[in-house]
């Protein structure tokens, strides 16, 4: 249990809580990279998924591409872009986007496609145009599934943003990388704990988002999705 005492001592040290390498600063950097990566991914994946889901065109291509992207080794993508573009935020963001797009894209696509044909027929029968059906019916019905994909993506992004430290950028990964370099187990452990904490907070955030964004009529069904 010595390690627990060390951990307490590490967190209790006031030096950890101030300055550009303090916990608040590192946490802020980590949140910033994760948020940026996630927003870019959502900006790419959600419109694309809505489009392929609504038209039914390119569904197979989307699924294949998403599968392919999921197989990409993140550090390979990161290192390759670092070689091409140099150290900085761009390679980290590219790696995170490559990681986060597939789950959001697949879930958006399947969410739109999973809308009951009866509902769609009813919407068209009411005289809605294609884009109205998409935005007023298919998107709201798909929201629970989209959020689920985004949550998976977010947890992966938060855990993976640690690699930013490997290419000289900040974030909570610094504790893990520097701890490894200094053979400081406590520091590594503390860094990992902070990442886990952030991931748990992310999950809670998505629980809140679901409460906010899912239409009231869909909540009973959304509860089944969890």
């Amino acid at each position: 249990m010595e390690i627990l005492n060390d951990l307490f001592a590490w967190f209790a040290d006031p030096a950890q809580w101030t300055g550009s390498s303090g916990i608040p600063a590192r946490m802020g950097e980590h949140v910033y990279y994760s948020l940026l990566g996630l927003l870019w991914s959502a900006a790419i994946a959600i419109p694309l998924g809505l489009l392929t889901g609504h038209t039914g065109v390119g569904g197979f291509l989307t699924a294949s591409l998403a599968n392919l992207a999921r197989a990409l080794p993140t550090i390979g993508v990161l290192f390759l872009i670092v070689l091409a573009a140099g150290i900085g935020l761009v390679p980290v963001l590219c790696a995170l986007v490559a990681l986060a797009v597939p789950p959001i894209l697949v879930n958006t696509h399947e969410g739109v496609r999973g809308v009951e044909p009866r509902l769609r027929d009813a919407a068209f029968g009411m005289g809605m145009r294609g884009h109205q059906v998409l935005l007023r019916l298919e998107l709201p019905v798909a929201v629970p599934l989209i959020l689920l994909g985004a949550r998976t993506a977010a947890v992966q992004v938060v855990a993976t943003a640690t690699i930013a430290a490997y290419v000289g950028v900040g974030g909570l990964g610094r504790y893990i990388v520097d701890g490894q370099a200094r053979q400081d187990l406590t520091m590594m452990l503390a860094g990992s704990l902070l990442v886990v904490l952030l991931a748990v907070l992310t999950t809670l955030l998505f629980a809140g988002l679901r409460r906010l964004l899912v239409a009231p009529g869909l909540r009973a069904e959304a509860a089944a999705v969890r």
């Binding site: 599968n67 080794p73 290192f79 009951e116 599934l145 938060v158 893990i176 860094g191 748990v200």
Partner: protein, 284 residues
Amino acid sequence: MIFDAWDWIVRVTDWGVANWSHPGEPDRGILPRLLQHMRLSYLSILLGLAVALPMGLACARWKRLYPPVLTGVNVLYAVPSIALFFLMLPYTGFSDWTAIVPLALYTLVILLPNVVDGLRQVPDHVRQAAVAMGFGQLRRLVQVEMPVAVPVIIAGLRVASVATISMVSVASLVGLGGLGQLILSDGFRRQFDAPIVVGIVLTVVLALVTDAALVILQRLLTPWSRRDGGGPSRGDRPAVVPSGAVAAAGGPESANTVGASSTGGEAVETGPGNTRGKERTWRS
């Protein structure tokens, strides 16, 4: 521009061919790294499945066990892999276990829900028929419930294997990692792009080949599900067919949806419940 790209492809391919393996030096070259990559990822997946099956059985039987176990597995999944590899080092050193144990733990987040859902979606009338035929608990589990759950479990295995194969590379930071070694030590540390590209391409190819092998395995294990031929195409979906049915008949198209292929088949009979299968997409 196009010629540049072509030159680059030729250069990378040349490097790959020239360094495939070095006779006399079994540790150098691409092939040994590929073999290590396969060993690490397959052992992790098998270990994960070996843990997920009994755990899933327990969770399906004692329902109260499931939520806390699932939460625990999810929290574990949030631990960054780099950290977990480093934290394993004091206990397992530079043996394969340093990579295998964390990777196996990560597969649980996909495998466990699929095992539980697979067992839970065995229709009640099937279970009752087995009881009525005089099947004991164990025989019912092995001969009826497990086979019915196979498609869902394999759907989970497919997602887990692709994820694991791409994640093995991270273990290169602790000196393991198969093709990740190629990416890190031959490529990044020497500022040389060819090994990185070869590493990425081979990782993706390995993932796709493994995925295809699992599809074939599922066909062999569940010969009764092979009845459908082409199935309706995605574009002109007749309104009466629930969307789940398309996923079931669509073969490779349903590849991405965890559990969709099996529950989609169920949806054909149950009608309004057709969204159930879709909801399993990417749950974690």
